[in-house]
């Protein structure tokens, strides 16, 4: 980003190639609408281009990029009258404490495809704040600290959201296996 700020257009191409998919999927997961995701995606990168003169490497570039994406998403939800990221569903107890560890990875391609489908369905069913925490971890490779920075919450809140998301998604992957075991 410093190279692009200094006027190197090729530096932007490299950045864009590295992060375009992650940012797009982040937006896609939250809008559920491909056309809207396209629009927001374009806006995010235009904001980044406009803000390049103000960029200071105080944090990881990815954190800065996803902060822009988060803010654009919030703008959209505010304009649409949706309070999508209110998170009143973070109880004190830790959902991961009561869950067994993850099942062994499915070995064949069909099983993996089925798991992916279930995961996406479970992801769409998550509260927006928890979904965001999980997608930021997956797409941006952000730590809990960085998720907190990008979403403007405390570290504990970000961690709680992430743990809830993981617990629910893990449960969604385990459910078919449990269903198979039960009849047996």
């Amino acid at each position: 980003m410093l190279g692009y700020r200094a006027g190197d257009a090729a530096a932007f191409d490299a950045l864009y190639a590295r992060h375009r998919g992650g940012v797009f999927r982040y937006l896609r997961r939250h809008t559920g609408n491909p056309a809207l995701a396209d629009e927001l995606f374009q806006d995010v990168w235009m904001r980044l281009i406009d803000a390049r003169g103000r960029y200071e490497p105080q944090a990881k570039f990815t954190t800065w990029l996803y902060t822009i994406a988060h803010n654009r998403l919030m703008d959209h939800f505010r304009a649409a009258g949706r309070v999508a990221f209110a998170s009143a569903d973070d109880p004190e107890d830790d959902p991961l404490d009561d869950l067994p560890s993850a099942d062994p990875q499915p070995e064949d391609a069909l099983a993996r495809k089925q798991a992916a489908t279930r995961l996406l369905a479970a992801l769409d069913a998550l509260p927006a704040a928890q979904r965001e925490a999980f997608v930021l971890q997956q797409e941006g490779e952000l730590s809990v600290e960085e998720i907190a920075t990008a979403t403007g919450v405390t570290r504990e809140t970000a961690k709680s959201r992430l743990r809830y998301a993981l617990a629910k998604l893990r449960a969604s992957l385990r459910a078919p296996a449990d269903a198979q075991r039960e009849p047996g």
Partner: protein, 312 residues
Amino acid sequence: MNEPDPRDPRLDVAYRDAATDEPPAAIDERIRAAARRAVAAGPQPLEARARAEVQRSWIARWRVPMSIAATVVVAVTLSYMVEREDARLARVDVLPSSAPPQAVAAAPAEEAKSPVPAAAPTADLAQAERAAKVESARADAAVAESARPLQQSTADQPRPTTSPAAKALDRTDGPTANGMLAKEAERRQAASDATPPASPPPQARVAPAETQAAPAAAASAPLPAPAPMARPAPARDLAEPAGRDRAFADRPGRMERGAASVSAEQKVRTPEEWLEELRRLKASGRTDEFVKELAEFRKRFPDYKLPTDLSP
């Protein structure tokens, strides 16, 4: 604190398998083109914007400390000015306002005529006195202006109620009060340089013959050293309405009554007069009175440097 972030490898794999969405190629091209255009437009406007941002952030960063500093500076300056003004007003109040006018009027004639010069004041005394005169010149002019009713109301009295300096200031057909004051200061300076000031015995100062001759002497004789005696009123009276001037005109009578008491007498005496009194006591061998008066003097003027001949 350093526990690892919650993560599930199986979910990572499942998500990677599921997350295959990509932005359309048209959008990719649009964004890249916009980025190139922004670079081609040159860094100048962006740099200027960045500089403006930095400047704005500097202002935002220093706004509060600068405001506090400015407030402190203004407060300190104001309090200093008020304190200085109070001190000046107090000096005007204490020294000249309640002086017996006849004594002041008689002083120059006595000093000029005195055959036996008293001990000359030290150079620093004269210098301090001159500095005080110059510093209060403006206030004197204003005070003299407001004292005119007083002088007019007492003009028919047998004894003069104002000093020669005040009389000189009172002449409305002459130069302005400030000009008169400057001339008066010059005359005083010349007198103090030419003849060492001598102080007559206090009894002689209040003698009727002396006081009657004083107005005439005032015009020609050198002005007395204790010039601040000429100030007829404290500066705070200047703003009072005309009705207040009548009450102000009664002051000489009240001052005379007040001068009967010892404390009032001490109050109206200038340091120079007091020192003369001390010299007289010392010369006449009245040691007890001398010591008592000296202690009183020191109490009243703790910062006044005593002449060597009076130092214990």
